[in-house]
């Protein structure tokens, strides 16, 4: 279980997180929604330690994440980045097997490659893609490779940062389905950041809406449409009029 308590983060005068409280239960898929610049990515990076919060605590299974061994902590996570963040100097299979070939439990190259190809197959990519470079793949394929890399070491927790950004609706549907299948199949705790409401409905068990650095609403996805929060309603229906100011 991941718990955030009163988390604050500012970049200069820009107060991005202003006291976030959120619990992500073990084995559930939490989707964080909210407009651009509301601090969704900062929240996710704070949990991973890529950004250090100014105040507040973040715990994983009741242990403060800042007081745990970094390598052991990070070994429990997998992450799919918004742009894929694939290492462009490496072959596709080397990207997927990156973690498997390093660290104290490093596997031999041949075994790591075998696992990488199996993971690529799991996300719908044929073995002939393994020896290509990321730049030779389409955006959708790069997302799949990123997904294969995220699951390669069989983590307990997976983060997805805007998994369908830049993809066409059909490819978005494919990625959403893959994510949901993998989350259920592996029984992982998942946290996804997205603007895409079709992703929310496909991936989420629970939803949290972030606005002005605070969690405005949180609850099961099944209750989202009936919720009375005007901010949530404006966001999920994409209305220009409402409490969330839009720039036109």
């Amino acid at each position: 279980m991941i718990t955030l308590t009163n988390v604050h983060k500012a970049f200069g005068p820009n107060r991005v997180l202003q006291g976030v409280n959120l619990t992500i239960p073990r084995g559930e898929s939490m989707v964080i929604i909210g407009g651009s610049g509301t601090g969704k990515s900062v929240l996710l990076k704070s949990i991973l330690g890529l950004v250090t919060p100014d105040r507040g605590t973040i715990t994983l299974d009741d242990t403060d994440v800042t007081k745990t061994d970094r390598d052991t902590f990070l070994a429990r996570f997998g992450m799919l980045f918004q742009g894929g963040a694939l290492f462009d100097s490496m072959h596709v299979w080397e990207n997927v097997a990156f973690r498997l070939m390093r660290g104290p439990k490093a596997l031999p190259k041949a075994q790591a490659r075998e696992i990488a190809i199996e993971k690529l197959r799991r996300v719908g990519l044929t073995p002939d893609k393994a020896d290509l470079f990321p730049a030779e793949l389409s955006g959708g394929m790069q997302k799949r490779v990123g997904l294969a890399r995220a699951i390669a070491a069989e983590p307990e927790i997976i983060f997805f940062d805007e998994p369908t950004t830049g993809l066409d609706p059909i490819m978005s549907g494919v990625i959403n389905t893959l994510i949901r299948e993998i989350v259920v199949e592996m029984g992982v705790t998942a946290m996804t950041i997205t603007h895409d409401m079709s992703s929310v409905r496909a991936i989420a068990d629970r939803v949290a809406m972030l606005h002005d650095g605070l969690v405005r609403w949180t609850g099961p996805v099944s209750e989202m449409d009936a919720a009375s929060d005007p901010y949530l309603q404006q966001f999920i229906h994409g209305r220009a009029d409402g409490p969330i100011a839009s720039v036109r």
């Binding site: 890529l50 070994a75 997998g78 742009g83 963040a85 390093r102 890399r149």
Partner: protein, 258 residues
């Protein structure tokens, strides 16, 4: 008056703060240099990129510099009948000063820019964050192999540059200045001392460390987007070049003044 003080004070404070950050980065790099894990494959790749692929540019620079130096010394020396010292001055000048400094500056232009652009691009495309989430420390994986490779490769480049520079001087001397080839080479070897060459190699190691350190520092601290990477690249080359010239003055003072 307050405005004047502020106008002077702000850049001074900013410079000192930047110097402090670079110093801390250098200390971190040195700490990671001696603690595992070590990424040998990345080290080998960096050695090839920094050392082998810099040979043509360093060699050509040294060749033309050695030739020009011979012409200058001959022309200047003729004012007081000292044309005969061309071999000695070319050799000492190349080994002590021009080999390491020009080699260092050429490597700074080629390598610091390339490292800063590569790591800066990795930063803005979240590849550096991805490394962290894959339990890999970017300092160990990106910085240490490059800094170690440059520290070891640049002295070798300097040694090659010295030899080519001296050869350039010899070529000009025998073809344009009517020097006897055997006498020129004898004068070069007789007057060149071990420390003339050794001091240049030590300088090369320091310059290599500076070049890779600046490339990595500015790359890892790159701003967002193409503009951020461009600014990081420019800053890396400028900072590395200025630091090389400053370090050269300090090292020359240490090595050659009593």
């Amino acid at each position: 008056m307050t405005r004047l003080l502020a106008a002077i004070g702000h850049p001074v404070v900013a410079f000192l703060a930047a110097l402090g950050r670079v110093t801390l980065f250098a200390l971190q790099t040195l700490r990671h240099l001696v603690t595992p894990p070590f990424y040998l494959r990345e080290f080998g790749h960096a050695l090839l990129q920094i050392g082998w692929f810099s040979l043509p540019v360093v060699g050509l620079t040294a060749l033309f510099t050695g030739g020009a130096l011979a012409l200058q010394i001959y022309s200047g020396g003729s004012r007081f009948n000292a044309e005969a010292v061309v071999p000695q001055i070319v050799a000492i000048g190349m080994a002590r000063e021009l080999g390491p400094v020009l080699g260092g500056l050429m490597v700074a232009a080629r390598v610091a820019s390339s490292i800063a652009a590569e790591i800066g691009t990795m930063k803005v495309t979240e590849q550096v964050d991805a490394l962290v989430t894959l339990s890999t420390n970017p300092m160990k994986y990106l910085t240490v192999p490059r800094v170690l490779a440059a520290t070891l490769a640049v002295p070798v480049l300097v040694a090659v540059g010295d030899s080519i520079g001296i050869a350039g001087g010899w070529l000009v001397a025998i073809t344009r200045l009517d020097f006897n080839s055997a006498t020129y080479l004898k004068n070069t070897t007789d007057f060149l001392e071990f420390w003339d060459v050794g001091s240049g190699l030590v300088k090369g190691a320091v310059f290599g460390f500076i070049v890779a350190l600046m490339g990595c520092y500015y790359g890892l601290n790159s701003g967002r987007g193409a503009q951020g990477v461009g600014a990081a690249t420019k800053s890396a080359v400028v900072a590395a070049s200025v630091a090389i010239l400053a370090a050269n003055y300090v090292l020359t003072g240490l090595f050659f003044t009593s």
